[in-house]
Symmetry: C2
Subunit: 441 residues, 2 copies
């Protein structure tokens, strides 16, 4: 049984109960959203029996964020990856993808799943490539099915699989500025070119569904042809693949598996709404899981910011999960500090989307922090902020003494200029009926 099949049968699972509490939504709503395919609860049975605290991804739930960790051939080890996991979860990542491609992949994944309270995603073709010694051409469908089953047994909650890239799409990428930028997508492209055959993962789709269903692994349909630059955004290649993902979504649902769909990438700000709406329509409302998108290409070193702009807008228009981008994007593998910076930027984006969509209770934290701000309750401001340690450190740079934690000003304005102080006087006058009043328009 998957969460989807249970929901369709009208059943309420313990995972749905848990999610309903976390989201502060009626459990029947959760069940109905899961049944419709608009919401997924990525909870592999193996992980669900272990450390997993179930969560939901879907437009009715709060906007979620994912943090990618994992080593690569040139850097990092298991200890560092567990540190990154801890940092990501500490600062609020809702799911974590282990994208390890270097040595020791199985051991890293096992330890991450063992310790992680959040769902873990993977891209199975990475380990596939390792096992094939770097020659993707040597893969056959059974190899890949075995790899997916291997990882499903380990407890992976969702898997990115690039079923949507078809042989006849490749020529659409030839005149792109940045061609194919998805690693998985390009590996499949390479395979198809070598064999002059259709995408083997698409051909094996039903068999893959059988494995996913057994463990309740959620599909994360990969966008192998996502644009890698502003110039390539919203082009024929991107949307040709999206149409295939829409078909896969339906097939996945028919086979009883949970499905979400991945999206771009690099998209100028004026095209984000259109992209989200189109995906929701083409993929029948399946949760949309976007990477950023970055709204400009000119700021390597700051792509957590360029993409945070896109992510906030994507979330506002209906994306269900935002995959973070770190300051190291395009430059190197993120370290622990990069993970932190990426997660915080994306907590901002997701929360911005929740406030903009007026999700239940979303603005409460803003209001509480602003009330503390107005009351000069510095400690409460720090406590309510996304990164209390940094907020306090910045404050203390100029006014470190403990007495200033109760001071009615900060170094930005100094005591004489503090507008908050003057507002208190206005309130006093209002109480004493000394203010001119005009009717509220």
């Amino acid at each position: 049984m998957t969460q989807l099949l249970s929901a369709r049968a009208g059943e309420i699972t313990p995972e749905m109960e848990y999610v309903a509490k976390r989201e502060d939504l009626p459990v029947e709503l959760i069940r109905d959203e899961v049944a419709s395919g608009r919401m997924v609860i990525p909870a592999n049975k193996v992980h669900a029996a272990g450390a997993l605290e179930p969560m939901a991804i879907g437009i009715a739930a709060k906007c979620k964020i994912n943090a990618n960790i994992g080593n690569s051939a040139v850097t990092s080890n298991v200890g560092e990856e567990l540190e990154k996991l801890h940092t990501a979860v500490h600062f609020g990542a809702d799911t974590v993808m282990d994208l390890s491609t270097g040595k020791d992949i199985d051991n890293i994944r096992r330890q991450i799943i063992d310790k992680s309270p959040v769902p873990i995603g993977t891209v199975p073709i990475y380990q596939m490539l390792e096992e094939l010694g770097g020659n993707i051409e040597d893969m056959n469908a059974q190899h890949f099915l075995d790899m997916v089953e291997h990882q499903a047994k380990q407890g992976v909650d969702y898997m990115t699989i690039h079923c949507g890239v078809k042989l006849e799409h490749l020529h659409l990428t030839v005149n792109r500025v940045t061609g194919i930028v998805s690693r998985g997508g390009s590996l499949i492209a390479k395979w198809m070119m070598a064999h002059n055959k259709q995408n083997p993962l698409l051909e094996a789709f039903d068999d893959l569904c059988d494995i996913m269903r057994e463990y309740d692994v959620t599909w994360s349909l990969g966008d192998g042809l996502r644009p890698g630059s502003i110039a390539d955004a919203s082009d024929d290649a991107q949307f040709a693949e999206l149409d295939v993902l829409g078909e896969c979504t339906k097939r996945g649902w028919e086979k009883g598996t949970q499905v979400m769909v991945e999206g771009p990438g690099h998209i100028p700000l004026d095209q984000i709404q259109m992209n989200i709406e189109r995906q929701i329509e083409v993929c029948h409302g399946a949760p949309f899981y976007v990477l950023g998108p970055l709204v400009t290409d000119i700021a390597p070193g700051y792509d957590h910011i360029t993409s945070c702009i896109g992510a906030a807008n994507a979330g506002m228009h209906g994306a269900a999960m935002l995959c973070y981008v770190t300051p190291k994007e395009h430059l190197g593998l993120p370290n622990e500090e990069d993970v932190k910076q990426g997660v915080i930027a994306y907590k901002i984006a997701a929360h911005t989307a929740d406030v903009a969509r007026k999700r239940k209770g979303a603005q409460d934290r803003d209001d509480a922090l602003s009330k503390a701000r107005f009351a000069f309750d510095w400690k409460e401001q720090f406590r309510l902020s996304l990164d209390p340690e940094t907020a306090q450190r910045y404050h203390d740079e100029t006014l470190p003494q403990d007495t200033f934690k109760s001071a009615h000003f900060c170094s930005m304005c100094g005591p004489k200029y503090c507008s908050m102080k003057i507002t208190e006087d206005i309130r006093q006058m209002a109480k004493e009926k000394k203010l001119v009043e005009l009717p509220t328009t």
Copy 2:
């Protein structure tokens, strides 16, 4: 003569010529935009005769950014402020406001104007308050006129003056979560409460225009009642003041002065478009100069990011200049590193808006950088990025050796996984006519 009066007379000034070249737009268009009031060229005659390189702010021009510098009573000196000026201009600030409120104000301002190639803005009421020993109640209209004339003589290019806050607006702020957060606005409120009289700056508006016109100081009509929290966004107080600013805009134009209008503040993402469109309508198309806006209150320490999201959206919907916010916002006075972080976040926002609005040539830099990225030309990528030094440093953290500057991969994926490499193979196959082709839809 002001730029506005010259433009109305059909005259093309040297400043318009200069601006036309910088914007790559016909000089007649610049003149017509200035004549209509939709564009300003803040160029005090004194500064224009000195270091100023004229620039334009308006919807037809590229989106601009402002960086605030200046000391406060508790911190900083002239040397530090000149360093901040240098940093702000180096990373691309289009204007700089000197918001000094502590000691040595005149000396700091004189030196900044002397050295600055970008227009300098001030908020004259800050120095006013210093001269009154902190008691704004002791001010009369003539004091303020003298202060504006004093600063105009020094060469200040634009001034924030809070004419829009009226006595009858104050009661509208009483139930706000954060009351009045503008320092200038709250000082005027305090004065009005003390005297139970109308805003003296509004009463002196025509006399102020006479001074502004003489030196061609551009109005930056301050929004003293801007919302300081998400809870207070788009409320009656904010829009009551905006209506007054709309009237002031017309009066300023009638008196031959250039006018721009300041805007919020803290606005949830779903209300930004409405706010910009409303301002453009109410203020008859005068350039809108917004502070952020911040789209959430929960991330002190990261408000360059929370506000960058709002600023990019504001710019896309027609805001002409974006006032930066630094990571120190709400916590303390920004230092040089904060200035840099704020400027870069806002260069991203303004450029994002230019790309989204399809301004002439805006996307060229994105395309050039992405081409360099695809060609693995690391040095060119660094060179084209907003902060080359940081981009290179991040890259070199894992692959410092010079040989990797020409490597066809980075530490993010390692050599085997590089999708860019595979795309090259696809192109080769396409050349050899080995790719399946379908008609482009």
